[in-house]
């Protein structure tokens, strides 16, 4: 994989999947809106978004099951925009697997090779059965398999063709949580082993973060933000990404100036009058209106303002409204007069646990905050996240 990244850095587009100004409309509805995207060869790429954001339509335009209204789809230098699905070097793992019920597991896996006129499929099919660890049940029919086994057959059936791009359409959606975790790790292992380009469509942010090298967060047919899982989580550029990927405390305010050498920090007056600092390097706000974002696990909770170490951003005292003990951490909701509830996750390392109704003070290190453009909808992506989680 590192080799592929190198060739990419050299400006080569040997096997990259590229979407150039791709638009797809269904009647009046624009499912995908002028999307331009390059997915490097050999990468594990996730398209993440709530239902209806255009991620599945994007996938189908790559597989050829949908044709773009405008724009081009390329693999390397080859334009595949108008190519029939069966002529594309692309295979899909479908959401409900779509295994052929009248064929055995081995015949399902051999299907693609046979259609391409490969004569001796026995050995490659056996190798694939070994890879997906189903050698013992190659002669069974799909309806005799468990969900996890069917999922692996669907993967094997696509993988055996060694496509230039493998598309995964919510491949783990039908599995229970435990199996899903196991398959996430297994998928990642197989991708590393075979080194193919995987494009994974999901609404599950945790799944995307676990597996993908790069995630594109989609919303209303556009890419909201693209980056590595850590980059997206630590430096969301919009309120949608901040809310959709994990949780964020978003505090609206006004930028009043910069402090520190070279304007290291932006000074912000929050709506309740509290003054806090945001690193300039992590501030996306262009105007005066700013939304300060802090992840709940970056916050600390104290019995009083006197206990807060110097140099931290401190919010006005509030009351604990909820205390949830979840084992590794304790999750608090804290409400101060005139502001939204603040979420605080505290690691259970022997620290005092505050009961609901206790007055507390919340603080964070200025370096842990980020700034967003204050003209956006502060709740964008919050409902989408809930919907995706349900």
């Amino acid at each position: 994989m590192s080799k592929n990244t190198d060739t990419l850095a050299a400006g080569s587009v040997a096997g990259d999947l590229r979407l150039v100004n791709v638009t797809k409309r269904f009647g009046d509805f624009t499912a995908v809106n002028d999307l331009t995207l390059t997915i490097p060869q050999g990468s594990f790429f996730a398209l993440l978004g709530a239902s209806g954001c255009g991620k599945t339509t994007t996938l189908r335009m790559v597989s050829g099951l949908e044709e773009p209204t405008a724009g081009r789809v390329l693999i390397g230098e080859g334009d595949i925009t108008r190519l029939r699905p069966y002529k594309r070097p692309v295979n899909t793992v479908f959401q409900n697997y779509a295994l052929f019920p009248h064929l055995t597991v081995a015949e399902n896996i051999a299907f693609g090779l046979k259609r391409r006129g490969v004569k001796d499929v026995k050995q490659p099919v056996q190798d694939m059965l070994d890879l997906i660890e189903l050698s013992h049940i190659g002669s069974r029919k799909p309806n005799q398999l468990s969900g996890g086994q069917q999922q692996r057959v669907a993967l094997g059936r696509a993988l055996i063709n060694r496509p230039r791009v493998l598309l995964l359409d919510e491949p783990l959606g039908a599995l229970d949580l435990k199996l899903r975790r196991q398959m996430q790790i297994e998928l990642k292992r197989i991708q590393t082993e075979v080194g193919l380009t995987f494009v994974h469509v999901t609404h599950d942010q945790e799944e995307a973060m676990t597996m993908a090298d790069t995630i594109a967060v989609m919303n209303h047919g556009r890419i909201e933000q693209l980056g590595s899982p850590t980059d997206l989580y630590e430096n969301p550029k919009t309120t949608f990404v901040a809310n959709f990927l994990g949780q964020s405390n978003l505090l609206p305010g006004k930028a009043v100036g910069t402090v520190g050498g070279d304007g290291e920090h932006v000074q912000v007056t929050l709506d309740d009058g509290t003054r806090v600092l945001v690193p300039s390097a992590r501030n996306c706000a262009v105007g005066e209106q700013i939304i300060v974002g802090v992840r709940p696990e970056k916050m600390s909770i104290h019995a009083s303002a006197a206990e807060v170490p110097a140099g931290r951003n401190v919010l006005a005292p509030g009351l604990v409204t909820d205390t949830s003990f979840v084992g590794v951490s304790t999750q608090y909701l804290v409400k101060a007069a005139g502001s939204e509830e603040i979420g605080v996750f505290v690691q259970n390392d022997g620290a005092q646990i505050f009961r609901p109704g206790t007055e507390v003070v919340v603080s964070w290190d200025p370096s842990q905050g980020f700034g967003l453009d204050g003209r956006q909808d502060i709740d964008a992506g919050a409902e989408a996240d809930l919907e995706a989680a349900s």
Partner: protein, 285 residues
């Protein structure tokens, strides 16, 4: 159940009646099922049984004497040959045409949306819903007015049979197609199958049981149709039509022989279709 309750320690009346009731409760489904099977199968059994009769008169309606005469001479000295051959010929051709046509219509209705789809869908029910006698007389009028009396015969019967068989084929194949996951065909295309290969490798094998059932149904419907055939046959005699005419002069036991043969052929067909599945199922368990 002991008929004589004079046992040494005699159970009280109450426990006995409870035991009977319990036995009945336990077996009620089997008893009802047995009665229903009896009801359904008795006519078939009578057909076979009466084929071994040697009637003294012209009517084979009263059991008299066991004989293999009718089985040794199933066509009744060739009298039955022509009507039987005509019926088989019409049934085979009508089945073939109606199955191909009906299957294509079913695909069009299920897979494509086109102007007038709803209309086609409901018109297809007409031949099934309309009384046969109405269909028959209407067709007769149509054929007479369009082609004249010389047209009546093989061609007119065939057209009429294809018409009503198509409806049954469409309904049968449609329900099978509706039950098929449309993603399977997309998956086949995704796995390098051309539209032609997708149809023969995926769609057809999955829809085939429905098409087969539709063909069997068409054959049975055509082979024994009487009312519409009678109206459109002109001077041609199909097998059911011949029996109808024969009733006036007497029915020979050969009619039962042919009926029994049809039954045997049907059972053989079912066996050919089901036994391999059954063997496979018992082997794998």
């Amino acid at each position: 159940m002991p008929a004589h309750p004079q046992v040494h320690h005699r159970p009280s009346m109450k426990t006995r009646s409870v035991a009977v009731l319990n036995w009945f409760r336990k077996h009620v489904i089997a008893i009802v099922a047995g009665l229903i099977f009896f009801f359904l199968l008795v006519p078939n059994a009578v057909v076979v049984w009466m084929s071994f009769n040697k009637p003294s008169g012209k009517y084979n309606v009263k059991w008299e004497q066991f004989s293999l005469d009718a089985w040794k001479n199933p066509l009744n000295d060739g009298i039955l040959h022509d009507p039987l051959m005509l019926s088989l010929e019409i049934a085979l051709v009508a089945t073939l045409v109606a199955t191909v046509l009906g299957t294509m219509i079913a695909f069009a209705i299920v897979r494509h949306s086109f102007k007038g789809r709803g209309f086609v869908n409901s018109v297809l029910f007409l031949p099934m819903a309309a009384p046969e006698i109405v269909m028959g007389t209407t067709l007769l009028a149509l054929f007479l007015n369009t082609f004249g009396v010389g047209f009546l015969g093989f061609k007119s019967i065939l057209i009429a049979h294809i018409m009503f068989c198509v409806s049954y084929v469409v309904i049968t194949v449609k329900s099978r197609l509706n039950g098929m996951d449309p993603m399977l065909e997309k998956a086949a295309q995704d796995l390098y199958a051309t539209p032609w290969q997708t149809f023969w490798r995926v769609t057809f094998p999955l829809v085939a049981p429905g098409i087969g059932a539709a063909a069997l149904l068409s054959f049975a419907l055509s082979f024994d149709d009487f009312i519409i055939t009678e109206m459109t046959a002109g001077s041609s005699l199909t097998f059911p039509y011949w029996i109808w005419n024969a009733v006036q002069k007497g029915i020979p036991p050969q009619v039962n022989v042919i009926g029994s043969l049809m039954l045997v052929i049907t059972l053989a067909g079912i066996a050919v279709a089901e036994v391999p599945k059954w063997v496979k199922a018992t082997k794998s368990h």
